[in-house]
């Protein structure tokens, strides 16, 4: 584990938003003894510790209900941990204020398991959202979105309403949106659940492309085919526990 030197003392007066620095060599994501209990008593994660280095692609597996989604939600502050320390880009998440959380989320692309697309908007509008909230120029947005649509074989669906797409097409739109702003960290939750093996390859191609541009990627999946044949690290969750044999060993 590369976590040793992460406990750097910081003055509490530093503006946390300023410290979101994905470019140095600290772990991009680090969890220490994190537990998550949903009220009243659903234990989703228990004493999970791991670190993800910059530039890694890491897979998160586990049975249905093992806690994969919960873990990803903790990283982008959609849920708060019941116990434990979570750092993203060297920043303790429990100490972020609202503004800093907004900054953080702009740096993390998330493809949600249930997509969270706006069903009545066009594919283009959906993918453009992360770019629009950072006030990118219309030309940049168009170029970037079209590039992604091309990569995911969705070019002919560009102006279709999301509701009229097949489920697998929607899944790719969700992935495209997560990747649109070229985030330093990308979280993909079951990215190939509705995709055949051929289309899954397109998605893995997108991940590799992003990874080469410096994006750290965490993929929660049950699809062995996408992690079996490569050397990436796999974290195996089971009933909220991280299997020690796999975790932390690249």
């Amino acid at each position: 584990m590369q976590t040793g030197n992460a406990f750097i003392t910081r003055s509490p007066n530093d503006s946390p938003a300023m410290q979101l620095n994905f470019s140095d060599d600290r772990p991009v994501v680090e969890m220490v003894k994190v537990s998550k209990v949903y009220p009243p008593n659903v234990v989703a994660l228990q004493d999970v510790s791991f670190a993800v280095a910059k530039g890694e692609i890491i897979f998160l597996t586990g049975m249905s209900g093992a806690g994969k989604t919960s873990l990803l939600k903790l990283i982008c502050c959609l849920e708060r941990p019941t116990k434990g320390l979570i750092e993203v880009a060297g920043q303790d998440l429990s100490r972020l204020d609202a503004k800093a959380i907004q900054k953080l989320r702009q740096k993390i692309g998330v493809a949600y398991q249930d997509f969270k697309l706006l069903a009545q908007r066009s594919v283009f509008r959906n993918i453009a959202m992360p770019l629009e909230i950072t006030y990118q120029s219309a030309a940049t947005i168009r170029r970037r979105v079209d590039q992604l649509l091309e990569m995911l074989d969705l070019a002919d669906k560009r102006d279709k309403v999301v509701d009229d797409l097949s489920r697998g097409e929607q899944q790719r739109v969700a992935l495209a949106r997560a990747a649109a702003a070229l985030p330093p960290l990308l979280l993909a939750d079951e990215p190939t659940g509705n995709l055949d093996s051929q289309t899954s390859k397109l998605v893995m191609g997108l991940f590799n492309h992003l990874n080469q541009n410096g994006t750290t990627i965490m993929v929660a999946t049950h699809d062995e085919t996408i992690y079996r044949d490569n050397a990436h690290r796999v974290l195996d969750l089971s009933h909220g526990h991280l299997a020690p044999a796999v975790a932390g060993e690249p």
Partner: protein, 295 residues
Amino acid sequence: MHFLSYLFVQTGRNLRQTWGTQFMTLLTVSLSVLIFAFFFLVYNNFLSVGTKLGDELRLIVFLKEEIVPELRPQIERKIQEFNEVEKIVFVSRQQAFERLGAQLAGDRDVLADLGSDFLPPSIEVYPKKDLRSLARVKQFSDYLATLPGAEKVQYGHDWVERFGYVTSLLRIIVLLSGCLLVLTTVFMVSYTIRLTVIARREELQLLRMLGATNTYIQGPLILEGLLQGLIGSGIGLASLFFLFIWIKTRFSGPGLLTLFHFTFFPPLTTGAMLLAGILLCAGGSIVSIRKFLRV
């Protein structure tokens, strides 16, 4: 994209996408403003009509003897002591007789055989307009009866009483309707806005998840609220104005214009109502959005 251009582009997009709801909201706001302003206008004009009708009120003190002119100031002072009055008119026997003649008009000749002094002299007291309450008029009347030489005090009991009752009944009705309507207005507008925002909850939550700043999220919605308030209130007040014109022309008989002097709101009040409409809508938006903006 710069913030301002984003703001207008996004607002335009919203308005286009949800024009059905927008239209309903606009209708609600217009209708509410119309109703509220209508009642406010009625109430205002009603008050001034009330004032006009109140001018009629006079108390007549019949006297045993005519009062010599030298005594008049003294009596006037005495009357003023109890209550400020508008005007005091002393009517001599002769004047009373002439008046009766004027009243009988064509039948004046029936008075020809009579002496001009069979009617009693009197003092007519026209009280200030603030003497509104019936009880007070009665008190005043009792007071006047104690004046030296006063034999009897008379005033249009019936007319004053009826007018007083009608006035206060109407005032209660107008005020009650006003309350009900303000209640409805506030309720409708806030309800509508709440529903608009709920319909957009999904989008707002997604924007939050993507890390959009509060300014980014709120901006277009507030602008939308402002526009709705502006246009809605505008339409409401304009409709009222045309309604007003219509009523006014309907009632343009010469006899009436002297009695009722219809007036629309002065520009300042109109402006204030417009502003209130705008603030209500924009404020409603802000309050409703805030719930969704907690991280």
